[in-house]
Symmetry: C2
Subunit: 347 residues, 2 copies
């Protein structure tokens, strides 16, 4: 049994910088993908058109066969003029991180109102707003990593109301509330879902940092909601892996004063993993739209003669996921290391 | 400023066996306590009177100045006759672990009905039933570590209804639901609260295995409920530390296929830690009853001439918690290693 998928597109991926980038960027293609929607949370964050173009050219040097869609990091320095410049330069989106909730988000936003002139310009030139949909934890309001996403949804709803034509993507949804909210909003609002959130619940990251990421995986019923909406073939929901490499020692080891890094790395196995998971809950027939059609449609990135490249998967019986990928001093450990997948890419 | 506490009693502690026991048992006294209610989840578990007495005598060899109250591990081999024998030998309680939810609980219970003859005998001779109040995770019923305790409460309520005179302790409560349920039940039902659950929420163990224990710390509002009931000076709620030592490498490090050990170790700093925490939420005036009076009253263990031993705490400004305690090859890392406490024991 085999499946041929046209030009799979990962609408949320972290390709990092420096030596780590050299290791992980080729994993986009190795994992079966031809398009990477690239996150801007570098050190320093990508906040200008020039930075984004320079970053894109670095990535193209590493692997020129991938279509990189670039993003800017929402921050007070970002102006409506810069938005217009970015749009003209082919930059696709602006990513918003609430302050302090994930890797390199220390410069993230605290309130959206101050960004309304920027959003106005984005709406005008049709750039996409990518939302990390969590509010910061606050014990005084009973806010913690478990309800940070549901509590963010009022912001999403308000942004959509105030900018109905602005295309907004709620990134890496993890809760039934988020799925329901996105379904209820207009056609300019979509949602990415990661591979790992289709597999994990809170039990899987309790004491197991390799499965720990932000947003954290939630209740079984939340996972079920993500699976259901894919099974339904709902066109607003498509893959964004949020594949996030970290040096293995920052994942494996914590001290009493230093926690493990948040992030799950799926790039090198992404398409087989997604096929495996979708098959496990009876949604294999939705694979093509989930990993290519729906996201490309929302972003207005149809497959062209130039970007057409079919990826063939074949059914296998239990192919083991490698324990580690390495290049020079750098290495990364993938999600499901040592476990088995029932699909592999035909080369 | 100083406080004098009469014979503090820890109504839930893991003293382990072998070399680790030799290291940690003296920490009961070092942490300011004079009574230890000892958990039976050894390898193999303590399921007979003879085992419990042998274990007690090992502990007394290590530190004879502690009053050890012994427990049996609820399992199919336990008979009403053994209960009567245990009672006659001075054994105080029987601990029930749901199967597979925490350290060495693989032999735990799946259903309570089969134990009714045992509970009948316990009620008759007045032994205490100690409940690890979590149901096993089951994605098909949306059960996970976050709601395993609320979902257990129906079992608690039924057991109390069926055995109204049986003294039952819901151990290490972590949720508002559990606090409310215990409050609503009759005077034979009480509840222990750990020190660390007064400090932690889910955010603290996300990616930080040193704060990971079972039951996991929950929402800020759940922590608030634990704090509130102590502030109220409610006599059904008293300290059981659930202090659980593990080899440091099993806490600090996980591989993709092997999670970190669940357990937080508080014994060597317990009384100063509890004083520090109670003071932080305005409940220092409840310290004596929380760590001595209420638990002793429920268990019928008043302080006698023989067991009277006042422990004096003094207020200090920021005493650092040691990074590690060691003896020979064994070592343990305490909760809050490297952080500061505002109270210390006067020796």
């Amino acid at each position: 049994m085999s499946l041929s998928i046209p030009s799979p597109a990962d609408f949320h991926v972290h390709l990092r910088q420096g030596a780590l980038s050299t290791l992980v960027t080729p994993h986009v293609r190795a994992g079966g993908f031809r398009l990477a929607y690239v996150m801007p949370n570098l050190k320093p964050p990508v906040t200008t058109t020039d930075q984004a173009l320079a970053y894109k050219s670095e990535l193209e040097k590493i692997d020129p066969e991938i279509e990189y869609l670039m993003t800017l990091y929402l921050c007070p320095e970002l102006t409506p003029d810069e938005i217009r410049k970015a749009k003209a330069a082919g930059i696709v989106g602006v990513k918003s991180y609430p302050r302090g909730v994930t890797t390199n988000s220390e410069g993230g936003i605290e309130s959206y109102e101050v960004y309304y002139p920027v959003f106005e310009a984005m709406q005008e030139v049709d750039m996409v707003l990518n939302l990390h949909g969590e509010v910061p934890s606050d014990p005084s309001t009973n806010t913690c990593v478990l309800n940070a996403e549901p509590k963010f949804l009022t912001h999403l709803i308000k942004l959509h109301r105030d900018f109905p034509k602005l295309r907004i993507v709620l990134e890496h949804a993890t809760t039934r509330s988020a799925v329901d909210a996105v379904k209820a909003l207009g056609p300019t609002v979509a949602c990415t879902i990661t591979a790992h959130h289709l597999a994990l619940t809170v039990d899987d990251w309790a004491g197991q940092a390799w499965n720990f990421c932000k947003p954290v995986a939630k209740y079984p019923d939340d996972r079920e909601a993500l699976r259901e909406v894919i099974k339904q073939g709902h066109p607003k929901f498509f893959l964004g892996s949020d594949s996030a490499p970290h040096p293995p020692e920052t994942k494996s080891t914590c001290t009493p004063t230093h926690a493990c890094a948040a992030g799950v790395y799926t790039s090198p196995i992404l398409l087989p993993l997604v096929a495996h998971l979708l098959e496990s809950f009876g949604a294999l027939d939705k694979l093509e739209n989930f990993v290519s059609g729906f996201g490309r449609a929302f972003y207005g990135r149809p497959i062209t003669k130039e970007t057409e490249s079919r990826v063939v998967l074949k059914k296998v019986s239990g192919k083991k996921v490698a324990d580690r990928w390495a290049l020079g001093q750098e290495s990364v450990v993938p999600f499901w290391a040592g476990k088995e997948l029932d699909w592999e890419i035909v080369h």
